[in-house]
């Protein structure tokens, strides 16, 4: 009898540990490195978008939008092996972020008002951040982090 109780206790504690670990395991992505790269690319292109607007280089804005869609595709590819419900959540928010970026791109053909474009770009950044919210904090890029290269101009 005592032995059965012991076995049951061991099994119960094992089950308890598994229950606790399940959300942690679920939060783990299959290709975290690739996901991190794709998220960083989205930030990089978004920052480049912002820079072209600030420099009033409006002709480059549609090109930045194209790169943004490529970075979005990189993220889709990075999560292709994740569960369907997670992919669906990401896709919904990613579509909204890409649509917001397209609005900036389309506007750049009709206006030369950098402030107006910057305000629209800020909305696109908010949409992009809602995509990032779906990923573990350690994979989310820090928009204020220095770029991987030398960063500031060394003239």
């Amino acid at each position: 009898m005592k032995r059965t109780t012991k076995i049951l206790a061991v099994l119960a504690s094992f089950g308890f540990v598994l229950t606790l670990a399940a959300p942690i395991l679920a939060a783990q992505l299959k290709s975290p490195g690739t996901v991190k790269t794709a998220l960083r690319l989205l930030v990089q292109v978004s920052n480049d978008f912002k820079r072209q607007i600030a420099n009033k280089n409006f002709a480059r804005v549609p090109h930045e939008y194209m790169e943004y869609t490529e970075a979005a595709d990189a993220l889709r590819s990075a999560i292709k092996d994740e569960p369907a419900d997670f992919k669906a959540k990401v896709e919904t928010r990613l579509k909204a972020a890409v649509a917001a970026a397209k609005t900036v791109s389309d506007m750049s053909g009709n206006t030369t008002d950098a402030d107006k474009l910057a305000a629209e770009h800020a909305k696109a950044v908010t949409a992009m951040n809602s995509v990032f919210d779906l990923f573990p904090a350690d994979l989310r890029p820090d928009p204020n982090a220095p770029p991987p290269g030398r960063g500031a101009k060394k003239n």
Binding site: L41, Q52, E70, P148, G149, K154
Partner: protein
Amino acid sequence: MKVRITGPGAGCTPHDTLAEVMNFNGLFLAPLSRRRLLFGSLIIPLALVGCGRKRTSSGQQIVDLFIESDGDFLAFRPDTLTCPSGALVRLTFHHAGQFLSALHNWVLVSPHQMEAVDKDVEKTDGIISKDDSRVIAAVPMCGKGETVMTQFTAPPPGDYPFFCSTPGHAVDMNGILHVTE
């Protein structure tokens, strides 16, 4: 064959074959002792490095440099290069991107000219004019996976900035060529 090594590969000529270099001092003709093994493991890499230094028929030193984009990120890898003044530099640039269609290049300019050149080429979508006297060397724009080359004579000693001239890239994608005596 006599080989005098006083520095990394000094004394080697481009005509020395690998076998000749490895064979010196009977290193591979006698049974390997621990001392010989240690000596060989230290000397052979030095000798091989030295033999990478070539010269033109006129005696000008040839230096091969390689640089690439940091994948799709706006950065060079490595972001500092070194060569001696007067050398014929053969530089290979590789666009290591996989996802983005952004074009990259490598442009070397005179000190303190990067910002001005970068600003000027915004109008030409980053295309560098061959007549721009501030530009020392440049490779053409290339897309992901492409590799391009250029060659130039290294300028007088000093630090020379290089950057990618695609509009908006130079602020992050830049580096320094250290030209030594």
